[in-house]
Symmetry: C3
Subunit: 499 residues, 3 copies
């Protein structure tokens, strides 16, 4: 009875995107069994899926679409899946032997955590691109960099007083999971199993997973793969519409270190999006400039397949995401050309520190993209700009942006110079941890908040507020002055103590 109800329910959907699904939308037997219970147990999940494209089209029908509108990039989709829509079982029973969390559940081998490899059954190209995305490596890029570990500890670590000092212990796993690794992704691990008394089916056994829940971009999955497609394509609708709106990016890019969303929302592009997007088409594939949307969202510049009204491809779809970006404007501690490898743990600067530049600003050339690659990426980005802006506009914008990279790096050079004196004079200790004292936090503010904000504001043509008074040049200058003021006061105190 319930089964019939569900199918009937699918049948009465009025569908977007012109996909005709009917009462006969072929749901696999396995998925139907999932829904039998979970429609009651987890109605939010089932409803979300029922509104999704996955629930409305069979792989067979999806494979009929050719050219840029095609959404399935895999060459070889298993025959046994083709005649069904993509339901619970299609993903949660895929590749059962490779998932450490596979468990027997009502006669099926289920795994809790669906991985990019599971998604690659249909979306192989996107999975391959994403594996080259620096985000896929976000766990180790933070957890396996000894210097960044010091920074992390100086923020999230438990703190105690030891005489006149604040000392740090390591952060506990729960704190780590909900702070840095909320976005970077946790490392998942099956650490046992437990029995739960379920309402629908009595006592059942489930795996216990350390680091769960998590949907971070660099999650280390239980099949060893990296990343979570659900970070952006929120489960269980996996909607392209949602991923294309800037709110998705905001989940991890809104703080003062990476204020992308705040800056975007105050830019001309963000204004046009906010005021006009109710009439845009966020589901069209490919995405037509001027017709489907009239100003870029994050996805337009960094991810999506764009065509012009003549149906010429302007930007290829890319889940690498930084391949139209010459500069990594997120300072570590300087803005620098993007790393060559998405695995940044291999980078060493001239002084053997795991940083892309020295503290004096010399870049670790062998680990970063060269001029030629920078040029190619700049041109790839500008190809989109030029659909709404003439050459002189685009040129002027980029000249300012690259001037700002030089100028902010110059300011950080000055911050490092003052901080270097503070360390040299023994007013703070570089060696144990360069990030864990009051004055070191003031220094961190300069490059992690203010220089970054200024660069984001410049990149998105929104220097007015975020470039000046909202964590911009005003605050950067203020922090530089306060660093210097602090040093001068300590020097003066030392001199007067010597008298």
């Amino acid at each position: 009875m319930i089964r019939v109800g569900i199918l009937f329910c699918l049948g009465i959907f009025i569908l977007q995107n012109g996909i005709a699904a009917g009462a006969d939308s072929p749901v696999s037997e396995a998925t139907t069994e999932c829904i039998d219970c979970h429609a009651s147990v987890h109605p939010g999940i089932v409803q979300d899926w029922q509104h999704s494209r996955h629930a409305k089209i069979t792989l067979h029908d999806a494979l009929q679409i050719d050219g840029p509108a095609r959404k399935i990039s895999s060459k070889n989709v298993p025959e046994n899946l083709k005649n069904f829509v993509v339901g619970c079982a299609e993903c949660h029973t895929a590749n059962p032997k490779t998932h450490a969390d596979t468990f027997e559940h009502n006669g099926y081998d289920i795994h809790v955590v669906v991985s990019p490899i599971d998604c690659s059954t249909c979306h192989a190209q996107e999975t391959e691109q994403y594996s080259q995305n620096i985000m896929a490596h976000a766990y180790d890029n933070l957890a396996a960099n000894p210097l960044y570990q010091k920074l992390e500890r100086s923020i999230n670590g438990s703190k105690k007083r030891n005489k006149d000092k604040i000392v740090y212990e390591a952060a506990n796993a729960a704190t780590k999971a909900e702070t840095c690794y909320y976005c970077h992704g946790t490392k998942l691990k099956v650490i046992g199993s437990e029995t739960r008394d379920t309402e629908a089916a009595g006592e059942l056994e489930f795996p216990v997973i350390e680091g769960w829940p998590n949907q971070g971009v660099g999650r280390v999955n239980l099949d060893g793969s990296l990343g979570s497609c659900a970070a952006c394509h929120t489960r269980h609708a996996f909607s392209i519409e949602m991923a294309r709106k800037p709110y998705t990016c905001k989940e991890c890019h809104v703080g003062p270190d990476v204020p992308a969303f705040k800056v975007y929302a105050a830019s001309k592009h963000g204004n046009i999006f906010s005021a006009m997007h109710k009439s845009w088409d966020f589901s069209a594939v490919p995405w037509t400039i001027g017709k489907d949307f009239t100003a870029p969202t994050c996805a337009v510049c960094h991810v999506s397949l764009l065509v012009n009204t003549d149906e010429e491809v302007i930007s290829e779809r890319s889940h690498q995401m930084n391949n139209r970006l010459p500069w990594r404007i997120f300072g570590l501690v300087y803005a620098h050309p993007h790393p060559l490898s998405p695995d940044t743990t291999i980078i060493r600067n001239k002084n053997a520190l795991p940083l892309p530049t020295t503290l004096e600003g010399e870049i670790a050339v062998e680990y970063l993209i060269d001029e030629k690659e920078s040029d190619a990426r700049r041109k790839a980005m500008q190809a989109a700009c030029l659909n709404c802006h003439d050459t002189s506009w685009v040129k002027g914008h980029w000249q300012r942006f690259e001037n700002t990279i030089r100028e902010t790096n110059g300011n950080i050079r000055l911050a490092n110079d003052i901080m270097g004196d503070i360390w040299r004079d023994g007013f703070a200790d570089f060696k144990t941890n360069p990030f864990d004292e009051a004055i070191e936090k003031k220094w961190t503010d300069t490059w992690q908040f203010y220089a970054n904000t200024i660069r984001f504001a410049s990149a998105m043509g929104c220097g007015g507020d975020y470039g000046v008074y909202a964590d911009g040049r005003y605050q950067l200058t203020q922090a530089l002055l306060e660093l210097n003021d602090w040093l001068n006061l300590r020097k003066k105190l030392d001199t007067s103590a010597d008298k």
Copy 2:
């Protein structure tokens, strides 16, 4: 003539919610008289009301609705109201003898300020629940707590220099009304009357009300009742749609002390709301998970009557609002179990301070809910979570949240420890006012801004930015270090002065 025009105007509304109203929507004679003038004098008010449910359905028809869809909770609605829609006069002439601002106005006894008791004519249960809401008591909870009064004075008070000190006078009434009491609610008082020369009706007499205007959640009304339903159900549409959207809560919950909206907007739930809510149904009663909405807004977790797609009740409607909350994460100065009574002025800690904990963190157990009540509230909240998340997800989330409460409380213990030394050593004065010196403000930052922000971020599963860099653990650590740095410098100065 005007009267006919108005009724005709009502008749041509195309109504939402399937309520059929026609040219014969029965408006009472009294309300019709109100509208005769006010449609011209205050067209914004009248238009707003005309779009409201109140203008479209008689009490008689509303009372036909049974079960969870029923919106009228009062058992006994006066007969004389039943055949009319709810218009101006129905509310502004209710209970005339109890309202100190009742005045004669064109033959009617009108009062300006409609109170929850007036609303309870139809909405008795919601009024009763709200009276148990800590918000209803927000005026006295602030104004009658001597310690919080010191905090208020140290922020809003007029300031002067007295030698090398900044001294405070009490804030004036206008400042108080537009700061703390804008949200907490003012205490209204009729202080006289005045004659105004009105365009519509010549000279008329009106009451003069101290503390007006105000729509704060704990407004002390002129009939002695507490609160303003219009705080959330904005006059004169009193829309359930608006109250269910997070922008209403944002009016009072967006600053660094209670950054609920900012955190929500950057969470996965907030992302789904922002991207998808244009297709949700915000007016459905009851509110069906997955069908009417696909991610929670503030109201979903804290207020609304929720059902699943099987029409089973998941959460009862509650205008108490904290009865699904085990923890009060707003630190005073520590996060603590919720107070037993909505009147928090009765609370005394072990040291006789009007605080829910000592400065060392020991909770005032007799005034706060116990483990059993905490468990019941936790389960009531989790009942909603479990519609879209499995048990292990929900469990993992709550383990992290409660770890964060412990960890942030530990950090505040450290802040209090350093601040305690500063007071003990005479570098600041606790007794006069523990909040009114520069270094005391730095201390206040730790518990009022950063620990709070971290907890809100944890509660809503959004630790990425607000848990770390946006008023989170980074800033909390920085403030702790600066407190300690400040103390060390003063000690050093004293030592060198002693030499």
Copy 3:
């Protein structure tokens, strides 16, 4: 062939606003030639225009509209334009001899930068009003005020260390263009020409313009005119809908110095806008209170032509924008009555500084509006308030607002007093630059961020968060205390050094 395609494309538009445009929408020959190439070269621009009112109605038809709905304010529109829609050529070839950037382009004299004078062909009244707007003069008001130039240099200037001091060089042109002058407007200048190899037409010659791109409100154009209509009426849709939504104002009014958008978004008005505006009509001219919208946006209070439901004019359209504002709440360094002339470079205070008040708060009366004008502006603003609020509400609101102006000015008087001591005692140097030292930045925070935020919060009836804890009275008090603490510490150090 392409030409036909375009016209056909225009023909199938389903139009908003009831403007009937058909396949025969008469596009001028010149504009048709533009589109022939640019539909491919700049599809985003062409598409945007095609969705605009400009593309859908001929001047002849637009001139048929009489009364408040009329959008063309010019008395004499050139006959040769009347039978066409307003396309590329109509604006980019207007007044060719006055534009320094006019260049020969495929047989036409084109200029890149369209100016308010070009727009005044049809919109003479708006252009005239805007020329009286302080915003039109934003370039010189900043660039030609020697004191503000010191402030600008102390923020955007390149910085170096000179012994124990930070010293400033002038900001470079690119930095200036993307910071202050992004909003204020740049000064444009043709500095040469360049040849580009274009895909569509081979080698072509284009002017090179210094200061380009820019859409700032006070841009100095190549015909000598001031301002850019596209600052708010974003090219190439020039949509009244977009200009009326608050996101447009946010582009320049969101930082802590002018937090108008942030404050609005957290106010009751902002809540109503956010929750309900999807059903408002943002294109109606005139704009009817209660019918087309139910709460003000920025444009409602400051710009738009408003009528009530009886079609009586409540507020005249004004592109002067400050003519309903008695107070300039943006502190320089005090809040003060609005300047008489939009050119503020002429202002001198009693001490000959180019400021509207002395540092002691005495206003430069002869340069500012008097009581009578203040009253007139207050009444003009209140005329809108009174449509949804009764007299006592509006009166109460304004009493609080003007109390807040007095109180915040009092706080700034105190800040100046402490800062005055710091300068007098030689702990900082007023003369060279009163804004360029660490402690001077702390002083700047008081009047540029916190007092401003408090006043914006008061003006928009949203004191709850922005008036207290979000850059409000808490932070203002904290900064005052820290200023004083800093001074006391320096004094103490000097005393102990003297021993």
